[in-house]
Symmetry: C2
Subunit: 328 residues, 2 copies
C-alpha cells in the first residue's frame, strides 16, 4: 500500500510516499481502509524528531474510513463496511491502518469522510481539555488562543453549544475572528492590534477568566497570568510561542491559587484514549448528528501533496483542519 | 482585653501587646475565650506587610478555647462552656475572639488546649492539599519537603494513617528526620547531605512521585521537576526558598503532563473554610480521638513572649507547632 513516512527527520521535504505492507488487525483492532486523514502539529514534531530511529514510522494520528476486518469480539457492531473515524497511534497517512476498535467513532450518514477525519484529534483534545482537565461549568468564561485553529474551532463550539459558557478568542486577523464569531465566540481580540490581557480584564469586569486553553506558552505567559481569575485553571496544550519562560513568580501562583496543567493527547495510554472516545461518542456525537456542531475543514490535499499540506500548517494559514484525501 | 498587634509593619520587634475591646459575636459567630493560639508563617507575612493600613489587625489565625456566647441558631450544640478549636480570619493572639461557628471543632476530652491549638491551620492545610487538591490515593507516593514543620508533620500522619500512601520526606537534620520516621515516613532525605531528586528517583525505580507538597518554591524547582512522575500533581503551598523561578520549561510540563497548583488557606472564603472544617471533623477527628493521629507541639510560649515565638519560627528551629498560651 501507499504510505507517507520520512527519508530522515527534517523539513517538509523529508516526507515521501513509500510502499509498505498492509498492516494486520491484531486482537482488539480493526483494519480500516483509509479514505481521509488529517494534519496535526504532532506530525510535524515527529517529522522533525532527530531522536527517531529507523525504521521510521508512517505518520498520521487520525483517520476516517471503512472497516475491512474486525478482530474484536466485544465490538461486533463494527461489521465490515461500517464507516468509522478515530485516533490511531501512528500510520494514518496511508491506504490502510490498524485501529483499536474501542477508538472507533461511527460516522453519521450525513457526514463526508473528509469532515469525519476533521473530528478525532481536535474535538477529543477540546473535550479533554475543557471538561476532563478544565472542568468548565456553565456561566464560566474561557479564553482560547488561536481561535481559528483546529482545536480552537472545536473548543468554541463545545463551550458554546454544550456548556453555554462565555468564550473569548484571540486570533491574528479579522477574517479569522469573524469565523470564530460565526461559531459562537462572544468576544473577539485581534492580538496583533490589541493587548489581550487588558481586553480580557475589561470584558470580565477586572475578574479575569475561569479557564485558559493555551497553545502558545512562553510568549503569552505574562498576559495569561494577568488574564486569569483567582482559582482559575490554565491548561497548556502547546508551546507555539516558545517553551522557556524566563521568569515565573510562584508567589503570584499562590496568591491567585492557579491550577496549571500541561497535557498532550497523542502520548496517552490506549486505555485513556478509549475512555475519552467512549464518553465523546455519548456526549458529543449527537450534536454532530443534528448538525449543531460541525467539523471545520479548511483545505483538502491529496495524499501525494502531503508536503504542501505540512507547509500550509507551518504557515498557520488554516482556519480549521487540513485534510489528506486518499485516492480510491 | 489583651491582644497582640503591631506598632508598624516590620520585624518581630514590631509586635506589641495592646488593650483592645472584647469582640462581638455577630450572627453566625461564637465568642470564644482563647486558651491557646499558634504561630503561622502567614502571621509573619502580615507582620511585615507594608501595604497594611491602620488600624492594624490583631494577629493570629487559629485558636483553642471555650465558648462564651453562641450567636448561631443552626449550631445549638455549641453551648457556652464547650471547648472548641478552629480557624479565625484574624484576632487569634488575644484573650477573646469571634469565630464563625461553622469552623468550630469540638476538642476531645483527652486533649489539652495547647494540643488543640496545634490542629486547625496545619491539619486543615494538610487535608486540603493532600485530598482536595492533590487527590492522593492509596499506594501512591508523596514527597513532602520540610517534613518536620507544622504542615509536614500533619501531612506525614494523614498520608500514612488515612491513606496508607508511601511518604518521602526531606529535612535539614538527622534529628528532624528521625522524628518524621517516628510519625511514619517511609524514606528520609537529609537535603543538606544528599541530592533529593536522585534519591527519589532511585526509591521510586526511576518513575518519580505521584504528588509533591512544596513549601520551598524556586530553589527546589528543578529537583522537584525531576522528582515528579508523568501525570503527577505538584501543590505549591509556600515559597520559603524564593518565589522567582528563572527558567521554566513548559515543553517539559506538557511532556510530563504535570498539574501544578498554587494554594493558600488563609485568604479563602468563609464558605470554603466551613466546608473544609466540616469534612475534616467527620473524616479526621476520629483519628485524634483514638490517638492514632496526634497534634505535634514543639514549644509553648506565653502570649507576652510572642516576639520570641516569631523569631523561633523564623529560625526554623521547630519540629511541629509553636503555641502561644494565654494566661487565665
Amino acid at each position: 500500500m501507499k504510505a507517507v513516512s520520512i527519508k530522515n527527520p527534517g523539513g517538509s521535504e523529508a516526507l515521501e510516499i513509500q510502499e509498505k505492507p498492509i498492516p494486520e488487525a491484531k486482537e482488539g483492532q480493526l483494519l480500516v481502509k483509509v479514505k481521509a486523514s488529517a494534519i496535526n502539529r504532532t506530525d510535524i514534531m515527529t517529522r522533525e524528531n532527530k531522536q527517531l530511529s529507523k525504521p521510521y514510522p508512517i505518520l498520521g494520528v487520525e483517520v476516517a474510513g471503512v472497516v475491512i476486518e474486525n478482530n474484536n469480539v466485544n465490538h461486533k457492531e463494527l461489521v465490515p463496511g461500517t464507516r468509522v473515524a478515530g485516533l490511531v497511534n501512528h500510520g494514518g497517512y496511508a491506504e490502510y491502518v490498524a485501529m483499536p476498535s474501542d477508538r472507533a467513532i461511527i460516522i453519521p450518514d450525513n457526514m463526508s469522510d473528509e469532515e469525519a477525519a476533521a473530528i478525532p484529534e481536535v474535538f477529543l483534545t477540546a473535550y479533554q481539555t475543557l471538561y476532563w482537565l478544565g472542568n468548565l461549568k456553565p456561566e464560566e468564561t474561557v479564553l482560547i488562543h488561536a481561535g481559528a485553529s483546529g482545536v480552537g474551532t472545536a473548543v468554541i463550539q463545545l463551550a458554546k453549544k454544550m456548556t453555554k459558557a462565555q468564550v473569548i478568542v484571540t486570533a491574528g486577523s479579522d477574517e479569522k475572528l469573524q469565523f470564530c464569531k460565526e461559531l459562537g465566540a462572544d468576544k473577539l481580540i485581534n492580538y496583533k492590534e490589541e493587548e489581550f490581557d487588558q481586553i480580557v480584564l475589561d470584558y470580565t469586569k477586572q475578574k479575569g477568566v475561569d479557564l485558559i486553553l493555551d497553545f502558545i506558552g512562553a510568549s503569552y505567559w505574562k498576559k495569561n497570568f494577568n488574564s486569569i481569575k483567582t482559582d482559575g485553571r490554565w491548561i497548556v496544550i502547546g508551546v507555539l510561542g516558545g517553551a522557556i519562560v524566563e521568569n515565573v513568580n510562584l508567589g503570584m501562583l499562590l496568591q491567585k491559587r492557579i491550577t496549571l496543567k500541561g497535557t498532550l493527547l497523542t502520548p496517552r495510554s490506549d486505555e485513556y484514549k478509549a475512555q475519552l472516545t467512549n464518553e465523546f461518542i455519548e456526549n458529543v456525537m449527537p450534536y454532530f448528528e443534528k448538525k449543531l456542531i460541525k467539523p471545520i475543514v479548511d483545505t483538502i490535499f491529496m495524499l501525494e501533496d502531503v508536503a504542501k499540506a505540512h507547509r500550509y500548517m507551518e504557515e498557520s494559514k488554516n482556519t480549521g483542519k487540513i485534510i489528506l484525501k486518499i485516492k480510491e
